[in-house]
């Protein structure tokens, strides 16, 4: 009999082969795909996010868990019905114009993807108008903006202004992150949220969509 808790533990350990093996076994034993997803995998990624936030798990381990999650989701996707889609919401994400630093942004993307979000990753050095266009094209619910440099922080404000001017600001929530920014800055520029790390970003995005 498939034990979903074992899947959760293997996911936290970042053991991709074990996770995919256990997920396949659970599927073979006719455990519902959405049950495996919600009670085994997403539960595991929530714990990974919490532990990262607490400083008990670090980037390499989070990446291993995220990779195991992606492989497991690939097994489940064809088995999930239309109403059981893994997609929690759509996120357009990128680093602010002028900022080439993407490690944090990539980690947030992975955590969000593992939490069931569809990610439209615009990469680095993203102009405000590119964010606007992507929101329109993909009907995204969330925009994720990242900056590592104090010199690129003002572009976050410019991007929010561009979303306002193009009339799509009301349809999206803007979340910001990166070393030089904080909640105070998020409030100042009119962002909807700030997350200090990838685990918190995933939690915050889920709160927004719930």
């Amino acid at each position: 009999m498939a034990d979903l808790n074992t899947i959760t533990q293997a996911l936290i350990a970042g053991d991709k082969d074990q996770v995919t093996g256990l997920v396949q076994k659970a599927v073979d034993e006719n455990v519902a795909a959405n049950k495996i997803l919600n009670e085994g995998l997403i539960k595991g990624m929530d714990i990974v996010g919490d532990r990262m936030q607490e400083g008990d798990m670090f980037i390499p381990e989070v990446l291993m868990s995220a990779r195991a999650m992606s492989a497991a989701v690939a097994i489940l996707k064809p088995l999930l019905g239309e109403d059981e889609s893994v997609v929690t919401g759509k996120v357009v994400i990128g680093t602010a114009k002028g900022d080439m630093h993407d490690i944090g942004k990539n980690l947030v993307s992975m955590m969000l993807e593992s939490a069931g979000f569809e990610i439209i990753d615009l990469g680095v050095d993203v102009a405000p108008e590119q964010f606007v266009q992507a929101v329109k094209d993909h009907q995204a619910q969330i925009v994720g903006l990242s900056a590592l440099l104090t010199t690129t922080m003002p572009m976050m404000q410019t991007t929010i202004d561009a979303l306002k001017q193009s009339g799509v600001r009301e349809q999206v929530k803007v979340l910001i992150g990166g070393a030089p920014v904080n909640q105070e800055f998020a409030d100042k520029i009119g962002a909807d949220g700030y997350a200090p790390d990838a685990g918190s970003a995933s939690k915050l995005a889920k709160q927004i969509m719930s």
Partner: protein, 348 residues
């Protein structure tokens, strides 16, 4: 309500009430307690800190008899950095004879063991002359600086490039291979300098490149100690927290990633270090009160558990001191006095 002169962590001047200062002291200490899973400060400690922050005096000190050793890392570099054009031996003499330093460190401008290795035999006669020209215990020191061992600066694949490609195992293996070379370089340079008469070897900013950097420091310490049982080794940390860049490395069965000062010191002890230099970093957007209470909470926990002397790092951006090129004397003296008064320590 009375307003008191205060500073933010970036050194900027602000006015705060006693109530605001106290609130920041409590919040700063609780932040450290929460992160380190250690006790926050007690009421009388908050009261002492409030007193010194509300004092109208520019300079604060300790009671006679409570003075501690003052030691300096990389000072032969710092004096030239501020435009005083003296050579390294003269710099050591200035610190010793004019500024009252209790121990000093001779360092090369590259300040990492890897670049010092090929010029170590040129450093030895300078160390020997410096020892003859000074009286205080003289260390030779540099940074472990594991970052210099990965491409493009070194031979090993760069973990920061491998990880985003999903090559996590390969990134971890690269750290493991690099740390072996780092250990060899530290032992090589440390041995030469000790045999030239250095009173100690300083491994400064240990853990700067994360847990693999810290592990290399510990293993090198262990090896030097095995080779020279009487050697004095100081391990000074790079930051308050060991970053899990590899994330799964252990020493004596303990995982290094995520360790704070009170856990790091036990590793330094186990490796055979003689002195440990713990760190608490300054947050520039919080007040000096917040930063100092937080720093003291970390250092107090470290000092209470330590079985070897500890010399907390005090200076720009560490130990509750603000981030200024020339840290203001009001903040440096308050932080130093509070650290010495409230913590069990042996030097700064």
């Amino acid at each position: 309500m009375d307003q008191f002169f205060h500073r933010m962590g970036d050194g900027s001047a602000v006015q705060m009430t006693a109530k605001q200062i106290m609130a920041d002291l409590v919040e700063g200490s609780e932040d450290a307690a929460d992160r380190g899973k250690i006790p926050p400060l007690a009421k009388e400690e908050y009261d002492y800190l409030l007193d010194i922050f509300c004092s109208p005096h520019k300079f604060i000190s300790v009671e006679p008899g409570r003075e501690v050793i003052l030691t300096y890392d990389a000072a032969t570099l710092k004096i030239r950095r501020v435009g005083v054009h003296v050579d390294r031996i003269q710099a050591l003499q200035i610190y010793e004879k004019i500024m009252g330093a209790d121990t000093m460190e001779l360092a090369h401008v590259d300040y990492s063991y890897k670049p010092v290795k090929p010029i170590a035999t040129f450093e030895q006669p300078i160390l020997e002359q410096a020892l003859l020209a000074t009286h205080i215990p003289l260390f030779y020191g540099a940074q472990p600086n594991l970052g210099l061992y990965s491409q493009p600066d070194g031979p090993f694949p760069n973990p920061s490039e491998l990880m985003p490609m999903g090559k996590i195992k390969e990134a971890q293996e690269s750290y493991e291979a690099a740390l072996e070379d780092l250990v060899k370089d530290i032992v090589f340079v440390g041995s030469l300098m000790y045999e030239s008469g250095a009173d100690g070897i300083n491994l400064d900013t240990a853990g700067a490149a994360g847990d693999a950097d810290f592990l290399a420091t510990l293993i090198a310490t262990e090896k030097l100690k095995a080779k020279y049982p009487d050697i004095c080794i100081e391990i000074g940390m790079a930051g308050e927290f060991v970053l899990g860049m590899h994330s799964q490395l252990t020493y004596k069965g303990e995982r290094l990633a995520g360790m704070y000062a009170h856990q790091q010191v036990k590793m330094a002890e186990a490796a055979g270090a003689t002195i440990f230099g713990p760190v608490s970093n300054t947050n520039t957007s919080k007040s000096a009160a917040w930063n100092l209470a937080r720093a003291i909470t970390f250092m107090k926990a470290c000092g209470e558990i330590a079985n070897i002397p500890i010399h907390p790092n005090m200076g720009m951006g560490v130990g509750g001191v603000t981030v200024n090129d020339q840290p203001p004397v009001d903040v440096v003296s308050r932080s130093s006095a509070a650290m010495t008064t409230l913590c069990r320590l042996d030097g700064l």
